[in-house]
Every structure is written in C-alpha cells, then in structure tokens.
Amino acid sequence: MPALGTFVLLTAFVTCAYAIAASVAGARRRSTRLVESGIGAFYFLAALMTVASAVLIHAFVTGNYAIKYVQRYSDTAQPLAYKIASYWGGLDGSIMFWVFLLSIFGSVAIYVNRDRHRELIPYVVSVIAATEMFFIFLMIIHKNPFSTFLTTPPADGAGLTPLLQNFYMAIHPPSMYVGFVAMTVPFAFGIAALVTGHLDDAWLRAVRRWTMLGWLFLSFGLTLGMLWAYEELGWGGYWMWDPVENAGLLPWFTATAFLHSVRVQEQRGMLRVWNVTLVIVTFFLTIFGTFMTRSGVVQSVHAFGEDRELALLFTIFMVFILTFSFGWVIYRLPLLRSRHEFDSFVSREAAFLANNWILLFSAFFVLFATMFPTLSEAVTGERLTVAAPFFNRWMLPIGLILLTLTGIGPLLAWRKSTVSNLVYQLKWPVLAFVVTAGALYALGVRVWSSGTCFALCAMVLTTIIQEFVRGAQVRRDATGTDIFTALIGLVGRSKRRYGGYIVHVGIVLMFLGFAGEGFKQEEQALMKVGEQLTVGHFAIRHDALRVTNDSQKQMVTGHVSVYEDGELVGSLEPAKWYFNKREEEPTTEVAIRRAITEDLYVVLAGFDASAQTATYTVTINPLVNWIWLGFGIMALGTGIALLPERAIAFATSSVPAGAAGATTSLLVLLLLLPSAVHAQHVESPEARRTTAARTPLEKELWRELICMCGTCGRKRIGDFCCSHAAKMRFEVAKLLDEGKTRDEIYQYFIAQYGSQEPLGAPIDKGFNRLAWLFPYLVGASGAVAVAFVAMRWSRREEETPAVAGATAEDASLRSRLDDELRDLD
C-alpha cells in the first residue's frame, strides 16, 4: 500500500506539470483541445489526491505501522475518529491534506467558472496546479507521508498526542486549511486576469465569493481555535498571540480588507491596483503562515520543530510568488488605472480606505511582532521577545477604531456626504454612543478600554438597526406590504449589503466578549477538603479528590461545590487525565459553568492524592460566550451574502434561503456541538462502583460497546460516562457470568437495541465491512447532492430569468426600489 501511495504522488506530480504545460500552451495557441486536456488533467489530479488520501486513511484505520507517519501519529487504542484525524496530525500528512483540499477546491472552482470566464481558465488551472506542484514536490523529496521503515517496523504506533485527542482536532485544522486553500482560488483568478489583461471587473465577481467562502472558514477555524484553547488547554483565556494563531489571523486581516475594498472597485472603479495587491498578499500570507509554523523559524507551542531544508524550499517558493505576481502587477499598471478620482474624506470610499489601511496595518503589525524575536536575533544577535501585552497594547486601539468605522462607514454616502445627510444619518448612533457612555460612566465602569468598547458597540448596533428599519420602511411604502415582509424582501434584494450588516452584528457581539476580558477575575489556591475559595460573587469548596482508571487513561478528578452569592448552585469536576504511554503529558479537563453573563472556569492545577489536597485555578470570564454567539451570527450573515447572486429572483423564492439557513444552522450547530459533548456527565454512584474489568474479555467488551443513553455522544461503556453505561457494564458482567461468548453478547445487545448500533465497530465480516464505508458514502453523496442542487438553482435562474409576469412587475419594482435606496444611500 505505501508503494501505491508514493506512486500516486509521483503521478500527481507529473500530472501537475502536464496540466500547467497544456493549459499555458493551449491559451497561447488558442487551442481549445489543449486547454480542455489541461482541465481534464486538473480534474484527474483531484482524483489522484483523493486516492492518495484514501490510501493514507486506510493505513491509519487498519493500523499499518510499517508506514512511519502512521506509526508516529496513531496507535491501536485510538478511537476511529482520531485515527482518521491523525491524517492531518503531523507535518507530512498536513501538507498532503492541504494539496488534497486544494485540488478539490480548485476543481470545483474551475467547474463552476469554466463557461463564464473562458479566457481566464487555462491560467487559473496553471496557477493552482503550480501551487499544488510545489507542495507535492515537498512531499516527494522531503516529507513523504508514505515513507516506510526499512528495518522491522514497531508493532504498535506511538499514538497521537493526548492534547490533540479531542473533538476540535477533528474539525479545527480542516476548517483552517479550507480557509487557507480557498484563498488560492482568488489568487489564481487574479494572476489569470493579470496575465491575460482581462482586468475589467468580471474577474472580481468570481473572486469575491471564493474569498468570502475562504473568509468564512478562516473565521470558523479561528473561532474553533479559540474555543479549543479555552476549553482544553485550561489557562483561562482563548487567545495569546501565539505565532501559529497569528499565522491564521494574518490572511484573515487582508481578506477582510479585500472584501471591503472590492465594494469600492465595483461601485466606483477605484482601488484596482490595491485589490489585486490584496488578493496576492492574502495568498502570500497563507503560504507564509504555513512556512512560519512548519519550518521552525519562530518558536511556538504549536510549531512543528526546526527544519532548515523546508525553510529553504519555502523561501524560494515565496520569493518566486512575490516576484512573479508583482512583476505582472507592474507590467499591467496602465490597465489598472482608476476610473474615478477620490472626492472627499467624508465619503464611503474614504471610510473603506481607512478600514483597509487599518486592517493592513494590523496584518503587518502582527507579522512584525511575531517575527520580532527572529528578526532581532538576526540583526543584533540578541534574542528579544515580545509577549501578549505588547500585542494587546497595539491591537486594542486598532480594534476600537475598526469598530468605530463599522458604525460610521455604512452611514456615509458614496462620493461625498453633505452636512444635512450626516446629521440625518448619525443622529441616533451618536446619541446611543453618548447615552451608553454616560450610563456606564455613572455606573463606574472603566472608561478605557471596556467602557469605550461597550459604548461603541451600542453605536454600531444602532447604526445597523437604523439601516434595517429605514430600508424596510422604504420598501414597505414601495410595495405596500407589512414591515416584516418588507424586511425580508430587503435582505433578499441586496443580500451582500444586509448580509454584511448581519456580519457586523456578529463582530459587535464578539467585541462585547473581548471587552468582558477586562473584568476577568482569577484566583489560585491550594485547598484541603472542606476549604473554600471565594472569587467575585462565586465561591468553591473542595469536597474530594478521586482517582479512577479506564482503558486509555488514569483520571484524577477534583469534586467541587459551587456557591453563588452564598447559595449552593451545583458542583463541578475538573480533572487531569494521564493517557497510557503519555503519562508525562497529562491533559487538563476544565470544568466550566456556563452562563450568558459569565463563565465560572475551574481548573485542577495540581494535587496530592494521599493528602487529598488540590490546587485549583478559578477564573471568572465575563461575557466570553458572546464571542461564540457572535461567530454564529457572523456565519449567518456570510451565508446570506453568499447566496447565489440570482438565486433569489425575489424574496419570495424561499428554497435557497432555506438552504442558506440550513448551512448556517449547520455551522452554528457544529459550533455548539462541543458544548454538548463536553457538558459534564452526571456520574451516578452506581457508575463508580465497578471500576475495573475482571477479565481481559470484559475489558475488551467495555471498549467495543457503546453507551446507548443517547446523550453520551457514543462514548464506550468503559468510559464511565453515565449511569446508563454502568447499567450496560452490569449486563455485560451478568452475561459473562452466565458463560456467554463474545458473539452471544453482541447478539444480546443487537437484539436489545434492534441494530448493531451498540457495537463500537460493526462486526468486521463480509457485508458489514461496507458499514465502514457507509458514513463516508453518505457524506460524499450529500456533498455531491448539495453541489448539484446549488448548480441547478444558479443555472435555472440564469437561463430563464423568472416567470414572465413576475419579471415585468419585478423590473418596475426594482427600478423604483433602486431609486429609493439610492436616496437612502
């Protein structure tokens, strides 16, 4: 099998080369056949990378420890999900995963745009293929995930680091990678436009949606990263300006800048060089981020370790990207001239420009500060470090300025705002700011920076509400419907604008969460049984310390009673888990009592089992949940903005809106899932009674059977998740006592629950093997179906521009509305 993997990679490399050559030659000779063959090769590449991924995943699932990569990042005891997630757990695999995603995304992008941007396609193909080629090259010569042991391979793997064995591992890296990879598509279109000279605004349309999609995934990935840090690492916060976090943030800044400035180009034909530059820089930063984390140039908890050869290869590639891209920009400067002059500083353009400069400055600041230790060592020979306070000091005012612009920008008119216009627009938002600021001051809330942030949040929210209300009023008067229908119609009519506002609402909520950080309280104490520790209006009492075992790990759990304002409100069970084979790296299981106003966050920081003492770190994190909530709303807004341009013939076409709703609720659901998974299970006394399996067979059964209570998230019964698992263990014990065999016990549970569901793994025989494939097949066909439906929708709208009657009405309505809305602008 590993030989097959390596062979597929080699084939992919050759295919890349062919795709590039055929496309460029085809474009230059205007040979449709060559171009088509280049596209064919490009699709083939996606197929090859899928095969390579399948081979690697197969190796993980079947435990082929002859492959070094598999040996290093998995072991037999790991649950299936983590075996699959181990694919991207290490450096070699993550590079391959990157190429896999890029080949899939690239193919979709080519497929969707192949008719609309015919002249650009060959160059898009070659740019994406060239990027893939670089990464495949890296794998082949330096980091082949399929390389095998030349000597006798170990019998079992080293296992994935326990820290990575959690829900977020399965979802945070893929989301980040999708975000990164999606940014390659706009870059490819940008370069294609530069090379062909088709620099009208058509390419922007193709690029905008991909950037938006990438931006959504990047935001999702960053949020998940924060959640991961918050819930798993146990230091009480979610962001510490670690180089790897920053690497994800850098392209996020520039992509955000692009999504704003693209509006200026569409509306006014300005900032054209700027937009191309942003697309290039965003792509460059995704590569640079990968470089930074993979080559060991910066020190980080995430970093993969030093690797000079990799650093060199990446540097060459990055220099090439920059020279090539900016070479073309300079060559095409005459075509990129702005169509209009800048009119006034009090205009929407100016606000967008300010927003862009600040975002770009943020990106460069973060880049500079992240690289500072490396730079200072190179320049002065003295390694100087900068820490989170330095970042915060700069990013705090920057964030607040951006927040202000979020409130003011949308109210300014294009070209130039008149004074009366300004007064009309800014009256309520400024009032909201002043009232909130006054109220907060009276209440004694700190003015800088939390107070300012709250007041600004109030202002921005007022702005957005005002936009919605005024727009809806205009539409109601124009269409004669009620205000609610008008509101929906308004959003459907200009999805990007109002979707954008909804994104802004999400941002405001996130800022609320960030401002809450200013009121954080933290205490640490070493406590004997019965002692209390007071933090804010909470108090905790250390009740007991218990040590338990399961098949994978030893668990040390502190039992804590929680008092709020002197009243007992519940209990928490923070723990430390010591995974077998990884005892020196225990994982911290944080116990969080969530509330919309504040989280009580308890960490078992240390313990002495014999003395029953425990050290707890107790943190109160006000408003932190608003960050996650804010992301949900942001995703909703992006979903609305991403709806196919013509899919909503009018707000009445409810199906695509439903699809967007579904996508968004899916994202929100995914985000909420961890809280369900991590919600602490109530252990009944019965569950604790049997702590050890009596025979090896019983132990195996504990690992193979799944708790069927329906809330444990398919934990194995050996995981002591709840009383239902205890009941099932009890049943197992009884059956074993009756002398039943393993198969008979299986049959008993299958009969009891009516399916093979209680089995952790389907019985690995004949037809049942298909069951392994089933979830993937469902997933894949679901994706295909969604893609198909999405295409049908968008195409039908294009081919038949709605029903005749509706069209006439629409047209007149639209023109009237346009007039109204323009006035509003």
């Binding site: 290093r72 757990g89 290490g90 450096l91 170990p154 080293a158 680091t161 820290l163 990575l164 908890v301 995430h302 970093a303 993969f304 370790g305 400055f361 500072f372 230790p373 200072s376 003295e382 390694r383 100087l384 470090t385 900068v386 820490a387 306070p389 330095f390 000091r393 700069w394 640490q524 104490a525 070493l526 004997k528 430390k576 020196e584 790296e585 225990p586 911290t588 920081a605 240390g606 003492t613 050290t615 770190t617």
Partner: protein, 138 residues
C-alpha cells in the same frame, strides 16, 4: 497631479514617522531579553533587575515546595552554570527534574524571581514526538 503626489507623500511620511515612533517607544517597554542561564550567570551583576525570559534545564532533585502552599524553590542550569529560582503559583504539569523550562521574571541578588504564571515548561513537543539523539526508532 504634482501637488496631489506631494500631499500623499507628506501624509504617508507623517503617518510612518508617527507609527514608528510609537512602535519604538512601546517596543522598548514591551520587549524582554531571551537568555540562557550560562549567558546570564557569567556576569550576573550586569543582568540584575532586567526583565527577561530565561532558558535552562531544571537541576535534578533541586525542586522544593513548601508544604500546603504554592511556593517553590528550584534551580535551573545550562552549560554548567546554575541559578536558583523562586516562584509562587501553579506549576505546569511538565515541570519536573530535568525538564526544559523558560522562566519569565528578573534576576535579583539572591537568584531569579519568577513572575506570576512565568514558568513555561516545554513539552517534548506538542506535535512531533521527541527525538533525542541516540534513541533509536521513531
């Protein structure tokens, strides 16, 4: 075109100057030295009172914790030079004899005073399995 170019250039120059000025002043407060124990202990008086991240390895059997408190005393070394350190707070799980640590704090006359939450013990590595020279396998 000319006055416009000048205007833009002047604005840019002022902005750049202001920002780099700010950056410079904040940097001098925000940065700290990153040093190894041997570098600092070869001339301890020169480093006293300066904030830094100190890199070294915990000396075997040097960790003492005052019972029922979070006060720790230990020594770290590199290339034969040793420094005593004091710390009050929660120790990371990976802090033990021989582990590689980075301490944030400053050097005083009696040793290194670690600031709150200033102990970072390096895991072998979070993503890559550790590869110490001479160990076969992996």
């Amino acid at each position: 075109m000319k006055p416009r170019t000048i205007k833009i250039a002047a604005t840019a120059a002022v902005l750049v100057a202001a920002l780099s000025g700010l950056m410079y002043t904040t940097l001098s407060e925000g940065t700290e030295y990153y040093k190894h124990v041997d570098e600092v202990m070869s001339d301890p008086t020169a480093w006293q009172g300066k904030r830094m991240s100190l890199h070294g390895y915990v000396v075997d059997k040097s960790i003492f914790a005052k019972p029922d408190t979070l006060e720790y005393r230990f020594q770290i070394q590199s290339k034969g030079k040793v420094v005593a350190a004091r710390y009050t707070g929660v120790m990371p799980d990976t802090f033990k004899d021989g582990s590689e640590v980075v301490l944030k704090g400053q050097l005083g006359p009696h040793g290194f005073d670690v600031s709150p939450n200033g102990v970072m013990a390096k895991c072998p590595s979070k993503y890559e399995a550790s590869r110490t020279p001479g160990t076969p396998g992996i």
